[in-house]
Symmetry: C2
Subunit: 383 residues, 2 copies
C-alpha cells in the first residue's frame, strides 16, 4: 500500500466552481478535492508552509464547497429545531451555533453551523452532505411553512492570529467588536456581505459569505492586500492544525453510523429542553446505554507519515479495535497525530493500539483532545 | 478563458474508493473526478481511444460512484411509486426502469435506474445526487413501512458491440438470454452478484453490481481476460458516445431547476395512471403551460474544442438564450456536438445560436437528438 501520487483531476461541468475558483487558480492553487459537488482548494504551496501561516500569521482559504442552506418562513425556527437535538431557542438573531443534524436512528447526518440572520431566516452552513435535499425531503410531509433553498453564497475563511488585523484593514475597526460565534453584515464595493467569527482551524478567524459571485476575484485580491503587512498567504485549511484542535471532519471522523455520544458531542444534545426533533426517540434510548465505540485522539510513533487516503485499521493484541480516520504530522508536537473511532474499552488515555499505515504497523497511543489548545475565542481588539 | 490543465487530485479519506479503485489504478487510470463522494475514473488512455473501443469493441468502465439505494419492506413498492412520476406498477420483479425523482416543485432531483429485485425490494441506482438522504428525509413523516440503506455494492459497466461475447465468456451463454432492461443473478467465484442489461453509452452493454468488495480486483482481471479476444480495454464512459446518444448527465444537462417536460422526458411522467407522488400537483400545473426552455442537441462549428468545464453562455442576436451544458468532439460525425438548455423559442431544428467557448464565439446550430442511433437493444445472441 502506497499513496496514490500523480493523479489528475478531470474538470467537468457537473461539478461547480465557487466564486473564488478563478482567483485560487491565479494564486497558484493546483491541488483540489470535491466537496458538495464543488471544487475545494486543497493546497496552494505545501502543508508545512500553510501550517505556519495559520498558526503564526494569517491564511485565506477559499472554501467554496461549504454550502449555505437557507430556511425561511413563519415556521423556520420550529423547522430548524426539528432538524437538530441542540436547543436552538437560545440562538439569537445575529448568533451562530454549531449543531448536529440527526437521522431517525440518531446518527450524525451533518454538523452545520447554524447562522440566525433574522427571526424567520436561518442558514445551515453544511459539511460535505446534501443537507438541502434532506431538509426538503423532511419538509415534504411537514405542516410547517418554510422555504428551503441554497442561499447562493460562496465562503472564504480568514484564519490565524493576525486575522483581526487583516479584517480591520479591509472592513474597518467596527469588525473588531464581533464576538466569537456571532455574525454581522459588512460592505464590500457597495454590496452587503455577511461575516461570522467562526472557522475550521481552531485559530482566531472569520468566514466571509459572498453573495455577489462577480466580486470573488476582487474580494480575494482585497484580502491579500489587506493582509500584506501580516504575512498573509492563500492556503487550504491546515489538516494538521484542525486535528491538533480536535475538530472533526464529517464524512470520515463522524458519519451517519456514529451517534453524538460516540464522538463526544453530548453537549449538542438537549433531550430535556427541546421539543420534538428527528432522532429524539433513538437518542433517548442510546443515552442510557454503554457506548460501543468512541472517538479518540492518538499519537502515532515514528517518522512523519503521508496522510491516510482511507480509514486505516486499528488493532489491539491482534484483534480489531476500530479505524484511524484522520492523520497529519504536527510540526509543533513533532509527531504524527490522528483521530480515530475505537472500541469503547480501548478509549482510555494511554491505551496502546496498532495502526496499519503506509509504512506497515505503527504503535498508536490514545491521548487527550485537543492536542493543542484552540485559540478562537477572546477579544479581537486585544489580539 | 482557457482549460485548467495540470490540476492534481488530492486524495482524502472523506471520499470513498469503490471496489474497483485499486484495479483501475493498476490498469493505468490517473484521471479522476468525484461522484457521490466516491472517486470515479475519468480516462485510462485518451478519449479518442476509448471512443473507438466502446463503439467498435468493448470497454469496461469502473463506475464506482453510482450508488444503489435499497428500499425494502412491506410498503417498498408504494414508497418507490411515491418518489417518481413514472408508473411503476408495470415494473416486474427482475425488471429495470429509468425513472425521474421529482421535487415538490416538479424539478428533477435525480434520474436513477430502478431495479426491482423482489416484490418488496428495489435498488435506485443513483446519479450524482444523495438520493439516500432524500428518501430518508421523505420517510421521516411517512406512515409507509420501509427500510432505506445504501446497498453497499459497486458497479462496473461492460459496454460496446462485443459486450455480449465478453459476458458469455465470463458467465456462460445463459447471460445471452437477458433482455434489455432486465436483471439476473450470476455467480462469480462462488458468490452471487447482480447483472443488468443497462448502461450509459447508448451501445449494447451490461452493468455488474458487486457486493463482495474483496473481489473487485479479481473481477476486473476476469473481465479483462474474458474480453481479450474482443479487443477489450478499460475505459471511462465515452462522453462523445453518450452525447451522440442524447443521454443526459444529471447535475448539468438537467438539475432540480428543470422539469421533465423541459428536457423532453414527458414519457416518464404518468399523471393519469399513477397514485399520489411528490411533485404531482406541480407537474399537473406545468403540463398545460408553454415551456420556457428546452433541452436541445447542437453542432458547434470549427475545429475540435476541449470539453467545457462549466455551462457556457448561448446567445441569439446578442441576447441570452440559455447555456451549453455538455460538449464533445464526435469522431464519427467529425464535428463538435453538444447538449444545451435554450429558450423554447430557439429550440426549433436549424436555429442558429452563438456559444461562448474557449476559442471565443462559435456558431451553434440546433439539431436532432440522438445525433447517432442508440444500439443498446436487440438480441444478444444475434449480436
Amino acid at each position: 500500500m502506497t499513496p496514490h501520487k500523480g493523479a489528475c483531476l478531470s474538470f467537468q461541468p457537473r461539478i461547480r466552481k465557487g466564486a473564488f475558483f478563478d482567483a485560487s487558480w491565479r494564486y497558484g492553487c493546483r491541488a483540489f478535492s470535491v466537496y458538495n459537488r464543488t471544487y475545494i482548494s486543497s493546497t496552494f504551496s505545501t502543508p508545512l508552509e500553510e501550517y505556519w501561516k495559520v498558526t503564526e500569521d494569517v491564511a485565506i482559504w477559499p472554501v467554496m464547497g461549504e454550502r449555505q442552506v437557507e430556511i425561511s418562513g413563519p415556521d423556520a425556527a420550529d423547522f430548524v429545531q426539528f432538524l437538530t437535538p441542540r436547543d436552538m431557542s437560545r440562538c439569537m438573531v445575529g448568533q451562530c451555533k454549531y449543531a448536529l443534524i440527526t437521522s431517525a436512528e440518531g446518527g450524525i447526518l451533518c454538523d452545520p453551523i447554524v447562522l440566525r440572520l433574522a427571526d424567520d431566516r436561518f442558514w445551515l452552513s453544511t459539511s460535505d452532505c446534501d443537507l438541502e435535499l434532506w431538509a426538503k425531503g423532511v419538509a415534504v410531509h411537514s405542516p410547517m411553512r418554510v422555504a428551503i433553498r441554497d442561499a447562493g453564497v460562496s465562503v472564504i475563511q480568514v484564519q490565524g492570529p493576525k486575522s483581526p488585523r487583516l479584517m480591520a484593514n479591509l472592513f474597518g475597526d467596527r469588525i473588531l467588536d464581533l464576538k466569537y460565534y456571532w455574525l454581522a453584515s459588512m460592505e464590500f464595493h457597495g454590496h452587503a456581505l455577511t461575516v461570522s467569527r467562526t472557522g475550521w482551524s481552531g485559530e482566531f478567524g472569520y468566514e466571509i459569505y459572498l453573495g455577489n459571485h462577480d466580486q470573488g476575484d476582487a474580494l480575494f485580491d482585497a484580502l491579500m492586500q489587506a493582509g500584506s503587512e501580516c504575512n498573509v498567504a492563500p492556503g487550504a485549511v491546515s489538516q494538521a492544525r484542525r486535528i491538533e484542535s480536535g475538530i472533526m471532519s464529517w464524512g470520515v471522523d463522524m458519519t451517519p453510523s456514529e451517534n453524538p455520544y460516540e464522538v463526544g458531542l453530548d453537549r449538542l444534545v438537549d433531550l430535556d429542553g427541546t421539543p420534538e426533533f428527528i432522532g429524539r426517540a433513538a437518542l433517548l434510548r442510546l443515552e442510557g446505554q454503554p457506548l460501543e465505540k468512541r472517538l479518540v485522539g492518538m499519537s502515532i510513533e515514528g517518522a512523519a507519515l503521508d496522510p491516510n487516503e482511507d480509514p486505516w485499521p486499528l488493532t489491539r493484541n491482534g484483534e480489531t479495535s476500530g479505524r484511524l480516520t484522520s492523520l497529519a504530522y504536527s510540526p509543533r508536537l513533532e509527531t504524527n497525530i490522528a483521530l480515530g473511532l475505537v472500541a469503547a474499552e480501548h478509549a482510555a488515555l494511554g491505551t496502546e493500539l496498532v495502526a496499519g499505515t503506509w509504512e506497515g504497523s505503527r504503535k498508536a497511543r490514545v491521548c487527550e483532545l485537543p492536542f493543542l489548545p484552540k485559540r478562537q475565542q477572546g477579544d479581537a481588539r486585544a489580539s
